[in-house]
Amino acid sequence: MDLIKATEVRLGDRLRSRDGTELTVTRIDDGFLGRPEFLAFVEDSAEKWFKMPAPRDREVELVRRDT
């Protein structure tokens, strides 16, 4: 399991949410519900729409990164 800092997530990264849902990040929102210490990773695609917030100083699970 690869963990990376939330601030290091890039568009196109495949992440796994704590509930096990995987999302391919198509947008990164700066802040979440008025809390600037958070980022929110969003997949907005034909397949699904899914949002996963994370504190900037925490790690998230990276499933795949296409280089």
């Binding site: 949410s17 704590r18 509930d19 979440f32 519900l33 907005d44 695609s45 699904k48 729409w49 899914f50």
Partner: protein
């Protein structure tokens, strides 16, 4: 609302619960930090249901997967944990290309800051007047019994 909705039990939602009433539509989730808002939503239901008002809960699993359960599990959670009596729809998407028609209409309406578009998170609230017009939008952190919601409800009761 000129489209049909399916209840959480899989049957068509009784339109008499909605038509001619003020309706507070809320996307809900069972595993969210905001889930205790069910308490305030049920108090609104008890306070105003005889005056032509209902809450309408819309289970949605698009926010961090916090509504993963089956319809039966969601119903049981709501009734046993919070004693909810208001109607619930089937699980719906509120954002994205698969967004339910109900939310196509709702998300076109701006909030108090003038921002329309995507639902931000679980427990976003939309108030529909008895005439079917979406008259107010409240973001998730606004508690169900916040004065802004109470005054909006009372201003549209039939």
């Amino acid at each position: 609302m000129d489209f049909d909705l399916t209840g959480i039990d899989g049957r068509p939602l009784d339109r008499t619960d909605l038509e001619g009433n003020a309706v507070l539509v809320v996307n809900v989730a069972s595993r969210c930090g905001l889930t205790p808002q069910y308490e305030g939503l049920e108090r609104l239901q008890q306070r105003y249901s005889d005056a032509g008002f209902t809450v309408l809960g819309v289970p949605c699993n698009q926010f961090a997967g916090q509504e993963p359960g089956t319809p039966e599990e969601i119903q049981q959670f709501c009734s046993t944990t919070y004693g909810t009596t208001f109607p619930m729809t089937e699980k719906l998407d509120v954002n994205g290309q698969g967004r339910a028609p109900l939310y196509e209409q709702l998300t076109a309406v701006p909030d108090a800051e003038g921002e329309a578009g995507e639902v931000q998170w679980n427990f976003e609230k939309f108030l529909i007047s008895p005439a079917g017009e979406v008259v107010a939008r409240f973001r998730p952190p606004v508690e169900p019994e916040d004065e802004s919601i109470i005054s909006a409800i009372e201003s549209v009761l039939p």
